[in-house]
Symmetry: C2
Subunit: 420 residues, 2 copies
């Protein structure tokens, strides 16, 4: 693959996010304000917001969720950045990963020195079935949606294909759930901050308190295997295989390397970025790997001059548990067909050698779709800066990666970061 | 204003568009294919589509109009560009003007050498009132839409403010209509390819044929003044003050200057680009000028090192007739308050010294909102290349400008082009 070189170096100097969850009293612009204020507050040497020259905002569909289009200038105005250029990017659940990448390219082009990149989504004011319909528009409305597909069913197809191709049971998916909830329990911004074991004990206590028979779950795996605790959504995917419906926002300050030096002693450099597309799932030959992910990461690795072994930790797009396992293979962290074993063996835990989704991932942290890609960048920024609190990965990680997927992989965008 | 300089030069080497109009048998991806094929066919020395590295697609709301989100990779796949990076940009009716600008920045950044920029919208499969609702989401859903505003009424407010501030009648608006229909009658891709005089004669004939009294319209102005021919939509704006609901697409090939030389002897250089945002209309102090337009054009002029006198012709955002007059003032072509006189005096006709909307503008050519900005670029490309057919401006114009507005000016993007 051709090595692309950007015109100049680009770094992150600040990052922030709102809590992810269900916030009935807030519209999306309020959530973005939360993220923005946290971001502004963590620029080491401070910054005058007037110096921000543009905003790149990922948003999947405030149009449908809130009846609000043209969200970029609406948000720019709400946070006080008018009259700066405001660009909304929509690439389904990869919207803010792509928005971040476009911010990087805009700074590299010389058009801007200081750019705000981020994303937001307010999903919970619609009933669940309407949210499912809104998300389904990221499939193909001519060839997939009329056939009855929704996103849980798309990823269910991938899960069964994976099990069939590699002749494995699907218990490994539950290890993704358990790991990501363990991580999320250490993230105060996570929508679901409980370990699966805590949820299990709480259910037992609740049953006892009501005088009902207390379920005899021996461990988390038994809990997740029980349809009463973890009902099937789209076979073989169960409730705890699915990321939630969420409200949230995330924001990152993207600047030229030159500017970065004046704002902090610890910039996080963007050393690689890549993006690719694919046709919709119905037309693919391959269901157990996402071609756009393989191409996007190859582009990013080539630009960075590194390979998968050099990556200390990654935030990957675990919209469903199967998606995380496939991602760890597409990124080259594990051989094809072996991602399932890696998670069971604990290799992707915080202390496992290749930590994946230390934030809790979309599964536990939450998945406000337009904010998720930028949320991943926030986590990598925290980890590389060493400010991830209780979930901080040991050993001073220096290279982190984000992998953000739109739809079933019609878009994947990968960004690679280094603390030098 | 700080002069921004891009990292390297960027040019257009091809442009194409679908017909604009009402196409019940086509979805938006079909329309984009029409535009794309015309574009590919007009690269002087030919190009292998595989050499296109990314697509930047402006689209306002296929989500609402067609139930299709994530439109960029859908389109990339439909036209055979998978697995290239596909980015959708949404900035309301400025979506594809902004998409074009992002394509320029992406090439300037070094990330890509050859990029497809364009836009599309398929609006006519919804009933008019639903289209009006969909467009209204580009206003502010918290402070404007609940008060009953729609886009005709937003611009009606600007029209009455203009008349009041400058103490003029609003007959000048009819001159915009007449001029743009005259231009559109020479554009085979226009949705309304009839002069107002032709429409008037047709109505007279139709009345006579039915044995009804034939209206005694003395000229086009009398025709447009008659509520029977030109009913009020949102006072003072009448039907012929409003751009139509349209289907259509446009596509432009954006490349580095270096690549351009290998593809054509006549590249059109992008010498200036600018973008700015503003709050929604309800919160503005100024109703007779669009602040984001003034800032965007200042940025573009500064980058280009030129002023309004150097511009040979422009495509401006005439979503409503009043918008064109305000645009010609915001761009510095005429002093504030004198745009109304300029159009009456014919200064903005093809032979008037400062030709505006030679394509017919959104008014006559049509306004498939996500395609309109890219459609403007197509017209400037044709005019500067001297291939605009019957509507070609005399004298070999060398500098052209596009002015594309989102909403009521929450976004404006300006691009300036030169044939050197």
């Amino acid at each position: 693959m051709k090595r692309r070189k950007l015109g100049r170096g680009v770094s992150i100097v600040a990052a922030g996010m709102s809590s992810f969850g269900v916030f009935p009293g807030k519209v999306s612009r309020d959530l973005f304000l939360d993220a923005y204020l946290e971001m502004i507050g963590c620029v080491d040497r401070g910054i005058d917001p007037k110096d921000i020259e543009a905003i790149y905002l990922g948003n999947y569909s405030s149009d449908i969720f809130e009846g609000q289009g043209h969200t970029a200038p609406i948000v720019a105005d709400w946070i006080g950045l008018t009259p700066r250029a405001a660009v909304r990017i929509e690439d389904a659940c990869a919207s803010s990963g792509v928005a971040f990448r476009q911010a990087v390219l805009a700074v590299a082009s010389g058009a801007y020195d200081i750019v705000l990149a981020g994303g937001m989504e307010k999903m919970t004011n619609l009933p669940t079935e309407k949210v499912t319909d809104a998300l389904a528009t990221a499939g193909d409305m001519m060839f997939e949606i009329p056939a009855g597909f929704t996103f849980p069913s798309f990823y269910a197809v991938m899960a069964t294909a994976y099990a069939s191709r590699y002749n494995v049971g699907l218990e490994f998916l539950k290890h993704v759930t358990i790991k990501n909830h363990n991580n999320g329990s250490l993230n105060p911004k996570a929508q679901f901050g409980q370990k699966i074991s805590d949820l299990m004990e709480a259910k037992k206590k609740a049953a006892a308190a009501k005088g009902k028979p207390v379920p005899e779950w021996s461990d988390e795996m038994a809990f997740l295997a029980d349809e009463r605790a973890n009902p099937t959504i789209a076979w073989p995917l169960q409730l705890f295989d699915c990321s939630p419906i969420s409200d949230g926002a995330a924001a990152v300050l993207v600047v030229s390397d030159e500017i970065a030096r004046s704002l902090t002693d610890t910039p996080i450099h963007i050393i690689g970025t890549g993006q690719a597309s694919d046709g919709a799932l119905h037309a693919r030959k391959e269901l157990t790997s996402i071609a756009s992910a393989r191409l996007a990461v190859e582009e990013a690795y080539t630009m960075a001059g590194i390979g998968p072994k050099d990556v200390d930790l990654a935030e990957v797009h675990d919209c469903f548990t199967i998606a995380e396992v496939i991602a760890t293979e597409d990124l080259g962290f594990f051989p094809v067909g072996e991602g399932c074993r890696a998670v069971v063996e604990g290799k992707t835990r915080r202390d496992g050698g290749k930590p994946i989704n230390t934030s809790g991932g979309l599964k536990s942290k939450g998945h406000p779709v337009g904010a998720s890609g930028a949320g991943q960048v926030v986590e990598i920024w925290k980890q590389l800066r060493g400010v991830a609190g209780e979930r901080q990965v040991d050993g001073g990680p220096s290279i982190g990666l984000t992998h953000n997927v739109g739809g079933t992989g019609q878009t994947t965008v990968v960004n690679i970061f280094e603390r030098k």
